[in-house]
Subunit: 383 residues, 2 copies
Amino acid sequence: MDTRTGLPVVGMVGGGQLARMTHQAAISLGQSLRVLSVSPDDSAALVAADVRLGTHTDLAALREFAKGCEAVTFDHEHVPNEHIAALEAEGVKVFPGSAALVFAQDKGRMRERLAAMGAPVPRWQRVGTAAEIEAFAEAGGGGWPVVAKAVRGGYDGKGVWMLAGPDEAAELVATGTPLLVEERVPLRRELAALVARSPFGQVAAYPVVETVQRDGICVEVLAPAPGLSESRALEAQQLAIDLANALGVVGLLAVELFETDGGIVVNELAMRPHNSGHWTIEGARTSQFEQHLRAVLDYPMGATTLTAPAVVMANVLGGAPGGISIDERLHHLFATDPGARVHLYGKQVRPGRKIGHVTVLGDDMTSVRARAVRAAKWLQEGV
Amino acid sequence: MDTRTGLPVVGMVGGGQLARMTHQAAISLGQSLRVLSVSPDDSAALVAADVRLGTHTDLAALREFAKGCEAVTFDHEHVPNEHIAALEAEGVKVFPGSAALVFAQDKGRMRERLAAMGAPVPRWQRVGTAAEIEAFAEAGGGGWPVVAKAVRGGYDGKGVWMLAGPDEAAELVATGTPLLVEERVPLRRELAALVARSPFGQVAAYPVVETVQRDGICVEVLAPAPGLSESRALEAQQLAIDLANALGVVGLLAVELFETDGGIVVNELAMRPHNSGHWTIEGARTSQFEQHLRAVLDYPMGATTLTAPAVVMANVLGGAPGGISIDERLHHLFATDPGARVHLYGKQVRPGRKIGHVTVLGDDMTSVRARAVRAAKWLQEGV
């Protein structure tokens, strides 16, 4: 507890934009997020008052960081699971805990567990050789191309490969990355179901959204998912709730889904504020960032209702170098669309890097989407 | 400019809740608010990364603080006007400038200027003796009681006295406080009109709200003001726009108004984010805090449209000592009303001190208001 305020201290490991936006939410709750940041120039470190410098792979740094925190949570999945278990053994409240987080850290463990639960997953297999990949493609995997994924550490399209045939398989295996392969699911589109669960066991589910990816990076999120049937939406929410309960998640759980002609299958899990939930800052009564804090502190969950009939978030990626400055782009965007809600992360622009997002709200999904895409393009390309 | 982000630095003098919430808004714009705070435990200093300790009456501290800021602005009106003028003379962009801010700092200057413009103000007079107050009451002032105000420095009911007769007038004059007196306006209710103006001259006006005061402190704000005619609302907005232009305000201008049977009269002016605008965080497309930043940076103004048909903000005042902790109260409130939006300022509880506010949004003003009042009462009294 912060003795100056009588309110709890939450520590977040990692200083990226998720920690930055969680700090923003913490301020409303009378709190100040404690951030473990690798660099003082990290996105969250630029704006938070209580920044500790250190890396998430250093158990001593994690121990020191956790002192005085009511709960420790994460901006990313890269903290070694054994470090989390060590903190837990010492009495630190870490959410999500090591037993849950492993399923977001290890794609193999996740798929095994989901399959055992009877949850819908693509056909998949751990592989160690090109011959195993070839056998998978030709037998159970539905033929080439097959999808290969690094078992650990992938994000934003990194760690995912579409293998056209045996030569590419051999080349990838030669890198030594621990891999699994998956059938290429004939998907209509991608969806995401976001829930939050508290230690008490209360679960709050957000409306199911459609996510639009380009080059493996989420570029747009449409809330609620257009044209999704009530029964399919409920099925996705129920699946996310069941997974949160079964895996013992505390905090947010984002379930990335493929929608196929026949139903839904789970693609990936994340146990933290997630890009597919950024729209909730303005688009839901309680943002995912506040909800995550409420969950890890065992507060009752906040309302997840939409604040407008149509909400679209578009990511702003770093564009090519040159052109007008980000500040000038912001001027132009604000002049063009006074209702666009901008979130910039204070990050150096690098091509393809997520440097911010824009959210637009309104009554009509088509026009809201067009505005959001245009706004993101202004910030991205300056035109 | 912050060379790490390519985005501007705004400095705010004063570390109270207005600076705290402005920092929260700055984060979305890719910025980190620089705060000049008297104590490291001040509301904004608890959450901001770039805090400089110093007092607003120290010109050297102000000079040092302003270095590297694109614009300097204020959390309160108490910076000596001559210090602001000194900074301006040295090329610092201070918004609102000294020539505008004087009308928010000096109630006599404000009334003289407004009267000269033909803007509606109560009958008033500067007074130095009890005899002058008596003469005002008996001649032009409409009889006892009369309202006496400290010319400078009042806030939240402090610096305002209702004088029942000559004895109380004599007692007040004896304190030596520079005073003015005003007729007691036969008001129906109080309204507030909030606008923001940029150096370029763009002005954005928010919907006119009703403010409810108790013991001179704002306790509720209803947006939009219930039952206000379109013509009266436009009149109030136009008045605020005219004042912002005439006085050369840059940033926010809150015009506190009395509604009478015959029309509206100006009560007070504030040139900063204002309690009557806290509802805009969730209730308007652009919050007053972001709007203030956009204005002082000469960005185009954001949309001021309501996000729900009825929005009510209720202040949380410090209650009597004892009872359950603020953290427990928050648990109870969240369990009672998952849709209530809470803002706590991280301030020590003292009876009557503003320690936070709650905003509720919905379709029906009566039920929204009841929820907001109940939520504030939970946090205030723990029952």
